[in-house]
């Protein structure tokens, strides 16, 4: 894994091209601008138990140059035949480190998330994106090298009882460690001239989880492509693949399609 990340870094750096840090499956250590508002809608799904999908409307806001917040809602048919409202989450990220120079920067941030779900708890994977109620806290560092961006994060997850008397099973681990590594590369345009030029970024993200005190692990890889149109509309398309894993889950090998619209200086 480590060797792979170094190799990937060297490979992308040696190409001398540009990259991005608007990761699809994770958040970078950088924040949104103060008073920036983004509206997102994400659709993810897969064919693990017949076709199932989840819709996630999300709002993101930059309260301050160092502090941003998200609010999300989760709707899916993962646990029943019909689509239903499953829950919501809030997330906050505080940037505590910022070392900038032209075309490169190094940033660090801490983040925390609280998630609420009314689904039954059927799987060993703690998933705070709709499946489980619980909280998460973590740290992330992002390095931008010209237009290649590398990011690594570690987080701690604690699952709680779900709403509607869905108690957390005593035979499941209620704590997990998450670890991610993400690389992003700006492939187009080669030279910026105009805000209207569409940006095309490609990403490769590794997303791992381990349940604490158990030998239950998983690792996904998520390649993605991203289009940024008019410097305002962002479109992400991604497909996750499980590289290895021995914990039960219902979100294996899912696709993700996301639209995000950015507004500036809203208040």
């Amino acid at each position: 894994m480590k060797r792979l990340t170094i190799l990937l870094g060297l490979l992308t750096a040696s190409l001398g091209i540009s990259a991005q840090e608007l990761y699809v499956a994770t958040e970078p250590a950088s924040n949104m601008p103060k008073n920036g508002l983004a509206l997102r809608i994400s659709q993810e799904g897969g064919f693990q138990n017949g076709y199932q999908s989840r819709t996630i409307p999300e709002m993101m806001y930059g309260l301050d140059k160092n502090l941003m917040v998200h609010a999300s809602a989760y709707l899916s048919n993962f646990f029943q035949n019909n689509y239903k409202m499953e829950g919501w989450s809030t997330y906050a990220k505080y940037r505590f480190l910022s070392i900038d120079s032209t075309n490169r920067h190094f940033r660090g941030a801490v983040y925390a998330k609280y998630s609420s779900s009314n689904n039954p708890i059927d799987f060993q994977e703690i998933n705070l994106e709709g499946n489980n109620s619980g909280w998460q806290t973590g740290v992330v560092f992002t390095q931008l090298l010209h237009k290649l961006a590398l990011s690594a994060s570690v987080n701690y997850n604690k699952a709680l009882d779900n709403r509607d008397a869905q108690l957390f099973p005593t035979n499941f681990a209620d704590e997990s460690l998450g670890y991610t590594f993400s690389a992003g590369l700006l492939t187009y345009p080669k030279v910026y001239r105009d805000y209207k030029q569409t940006n095309i970024n490609v990403y490769l993200e590794f997303l791992g989880k381990s349940n604490l005190g158990r030998n239950e692990n998983l690792m996904d890889v998520a390649p993605a492509v991203q289009f940024i149109i008019n410097s305002k509309l962002r479109i992400d398309v991604s497909q996750r693949f499980q590289l290895w894993g021995n914990m039960t889950r219902n979100g294996k090998n899912m696709y993700l399609i996301r639209l995000e619209y950015n507004l500036y200086n809203v208040f």
Partner: protein, 162 residues
């Protein structure tokens, strides 16, 4: 070290700022829009490839460089270079000379004796207008206390060079 400041016939016409840490057109657009909200800015043009913004100021409004810096910081980035373009009318300058503009002082550092006339590019050397490492180096080597604090008494003092 303190010389008498003069209120020069100086018009602050433009500024060129280079912003570091920018990575994407979204970040640049956010920064540009934030700067545009300042009441003394009449126009802003980006050079996206070099991460430079060229800001034109309104003739009848007082320009405050600290507010530009704040907008860049609030957008999540830093100013790595700021060139102020003033229109002067036969202004004699030398090291340690300063003039008053809009309630602030502009203090010359490392300049030869010279008469400035017409549009002149002055590079701002203060904290948060140059990379942090460069500021520390300059602050350690200068005898000007006002450079380290950015203040002369209670007056905001910017340090500039040709």
């Amino acid at each position: 070290m303190m010389l008498l400041g003069i209120t020069a016939k100086a018009q602050f016409v433009k500024a060129e700022i280079q912003v570091s840490g920018l990575t994407c057109s979204m970040c640049q657009l956010a920064t540009e829009k934030a700067i545009k909200t300042l009441n003394f800015v009449s126009d802003i043009k980006p050079d996206l490839n070099k991460n430079i913004f060229i800001i034109t100021f309104k003739k009848d409004k007082a320009v405050q460089l600290d507010l530009i810096k704040k907008k860049v910081k609030d957008s999540g980035f830093s100013v790595s270079k700021l060139v102020a373009i003033f229109n002067f009318d036969q202004l004699k300058v030398k090291d340690d000379f300063h003039f008053d503009y809009a309630g602030s002082k502009y203090h010359f550092m490392d300049v030869p004796e010279k008469t400035l006339d017409g549009p002149v590019r002055l590079t701002v050397l203060d904290k948060d207008f140059i990379p942090g490492g460069e500021f520390k180096k300059r602050a350690a080597s200068t005898t000007f206390e006002c450079y380290r604090s950015g203040m002369m008494g209670k007056t905001r003092t910017y340090h500039v060079t040709l």
